[in-house]
């Protein structure tokens, strides 16, 4: 039975992460929201000190939408470390993202980032949902804008 619980958690969490990347990159904000708990906590303060930890799904999704809606983005999530504790799971996954800004930001046209997502998943009504996400970075390649505007 332990095996079945693990399979359920592994498959459920892997699916949420796959949908997380696809709906985020496709700017499908309604589907993206459905992967998160209502009290979802987002912490990307290591990437951007100006963004404090955001509590609440609607506020977090709105902040992500404002930051990334105009950008071209591609997110990858790699093999997870899963610590399963009943209907909760603590997960660390390697991640990579590419971000091409619609307009250069501080002279930066695009980013290639490497890091870890530290995630807290909960299973509610049979569905695995993301309750907390914290991003830590290992390395960030910043591609300078060529020429740039005067």
């Amino acid at each position: 039975m332990a095996d079945m619980e693990l399979i359920d958690a592994f498959v459920g969490i892997s699916q949420v992460n796959a949908q997380f990347c696809r709906t985020l990159d496709g700017n499908d904000w309604a589907a993206f929201s459905s992967l998160l708990t209502e009290d979802f906590v987002l912490d990307v303060s290591e990437d951007n000190e100006e963004i404090a930890t955001i509590t609440g799904r609607d506020r977090a999704v709105e902040a992500i939408r404002q930051e990334l809606d105009d950008a071209t983005i591609a997110h990858h999530i790699h093999v997870p470390e899963i610590d399963l504790q009943g209907s909760e799971a603590y997960v660390v996954c390697a991640m990579q993202d590419e971000v091409i800004w619609a307009e250069p930001k501080d002279g930066v046209a695009a980013l290639n980032g490497y890091g870890q997502y530290h995630q807290h998943f909960v299973r509610r009504n049979g569905q695995w949902q993301l309750a907390r996400l914290r991003l830590t970075r290992i390395h960030l390649d910043k591609h300078r804008a060529q020429g740039g505007k005067p």
Binding site: D3, L6, H76, V79, P80, Q96, I138, H139, D141
Partner: protein, 149 residues
Amino acid sequence: MSSINFEDYLAICNTKARYCRCLDEKDWEGYADVFTEDVILDTRGSGGDVVNGRDQLVPWVRASLESTATAHQVHSPEITLVDADTADVIWAMQDRVVWSEDRAKSTGFKGLVGYGHYRERYVRCSDGSWRIASTALTRLHMDMEPYQA
């Protein structure tokens, strides 16, 4: 040997995920713990050498990467169970490596994006954990980034 059960599959994946994270975060204690004491590391397929034993391996890797930014990724594994406590695993891998300014100046390269495979043997240890008993890295391609002063 029959196919691997899921608990062992997941435990092996967790070990390799921890390998990547500890290496990239320079958590050398955590990194050491993913290997058996008598581990064999073979990086000849990636311009490296053969190193025997965990006590030699960790300082060797540490000396090579301590001042280097790295991000290692592994993709879907192929796992072959050899016996109940032994498994052979092949991982597709990708890494981003950015060397220190000093090293970049002396080698002429700032960093690389590399693609290759890890070919590894995992064993179940007496504490129940799966650890890496041998690992060989081979390369398909390395995109080298030239250094411009």
